[in-house]
Amino acid sequence: MSLVRLDGVEKRFGDLHVLKGIDLKVEAGQVVAIIGKSGSGKSTLLGCINGLESHDDGRITVDGKVVSEDARSLRELRQTVGMVFQQFNLFPHLSAGRNVMLAPMVVHKAQGQASEALARDCLAKVGLAEKFDTYPDKLSGGQQQRVAIARTLAMQPKIILCDEITSALDPELVAEVLKVVKALADQGMTLIMVTHEMAFAREVADLLVFMHQGRVHEVGAPAVLFDAPQTPELCQFLGAVL
């Protein structure tokens, strides 16, 4: 059984039809890269998977459970699915370590010491062990994004959603974040990532999804899609970005 499965998912914002019947299966341990023009619905799709956005039609199952809107099942869902954002969204009033500790303490009711050990461990995984007491505004963009990844890891999710997590970074900071993502992929984490880093997608992803106007326009192995795009839309998109 697939870890994540979308069947005919539809989403509207008022009159705007953003997702027009999305079908997608993601197996445990798979790395899925989603590409597509701005406005094609990539972020909305990710949001539907962890319930940040409600969907209007179709069905999403994650880890065998149907995604619904009631508070209890959302809380459970979000312990399974972590998310990393383009703008990092670290909590500015908390140190890096406290950012990582917050959810384990509040949601898992972890003890202070246990969650501190966990946080140090997670920060070490992203190479920031020494930044435990540093506040976000004293960290570079790349470091902030790595703390955000550590914060997600601390909840021990089965799936991590990444929404253009290197798009807000200065070019020289992109590599350090991608390195962390690559390591996660190598350790078998299931990743669904929206990205503009085509070379990275080609290297790391098992499955490439091209979204166009609210539909999965083309899907397949990255090498196949990159080297032999089937539709003029993907050709055009790749021509513009490569």
């Binding site: 940040l52 508070a71 998310m83 703008q87 909590f91 009033h93 955000a148 997600t152």
Partner: protein
């Protein structure tokens, strides 16, 4: 006619200024408590409380404080409560303050970016947990400066209690003026005393705001 020296006038004004301070404190503390409720209602997900708070704010911000004082004063005596002017003034000023503080604080909560809500929701925090651990701590920090700033409005607002006969600084000034006919001196002193109360608050508010901006910019 009694003869007032400059020092008599000043001493009497200073005594009365204590009542201005007291009324300000009552109104500010009371207004903060009610204002918190107004703020919570205003940002509630439930449209009932949200609309009630909206109308409450609209009415209290859309009518003169003086009329609110009159309505409290005359309204309470209508229902048979013979309240002293201090009580009527305290109630009216509390309501007035609560509407403004509630709205100021709502602005502070809404100033917290959508990303903070999304990130904390993604970490499986519930709405109360998001508020408690992520949104309010940040909102409180930006709320301090405008809240202190509004305290100035509260102190100035207490001057209207003189009109329903509560003897605070302004009323004392009027009474002394009626006895001495030294309007220029008396009202000049009254103004200076208010200034002495309000200006430090204004400065503090501005300093807090600057410090926050510096912290943000870095």
């Amino acid at each position: 006619m009694v003869q007032f020296t400059f020092w008599d006038i000043l001493r009497n004004l200073l005594l009365a200024a204590q009542w201005t301070v007291l009324l300000s404190l009552i109104a500010f503390v009371g207004g903060a408590v009610v204002g918190l409720i107004v703020c919570v209602a205003r940002i509630s997900k439930n449209p009932g409380p949200r609309w009630a708070a909206r109308i409450y704010i609209e009415v209290l911000q859309g009518t003169p404080l003086l009329m609110q004082l009159f309505l409290c004063f005359f309204g309470l005596s209508l229902i048979g409560l013979n309240v002293p002017p201090l009580a009527a003034a305290a109630i009216a000023l509390t309501l007035y303050t609560s509407a403004f503080l509630g709205e100021i604080w709502r602005g502070c909560v809404e100033a917290i970016s959508k990303g903070q809500w999304e990130a904390s929701a993604s970490l499986a925090l519930t709405y109360p947990e998001q508020m408690r651990y992520v949104i309010l701590p940040q909102a409180l920090r930006i709320a301090v400066a405008p809240t202190v700033g509004f305290a100035v409005q509260v102190v100035k607002g207490t001057a209207l209690a003189s009109i329903i006969g509560f003897v605070e600084l302004t009323k004392a000034g009027t009474m002394i003026n009626n006895a001495t006919f030294q309007s220029f001196l008396v009202y000049g002193l009254v103004a200076l005393l208010y200034f002495a109360l309000c200006f430090p608050l204004s400065l503090l508010s501005r300093r807090l705001e600057r410090r926050l901006n510096v912290a943000r910019a870095s």
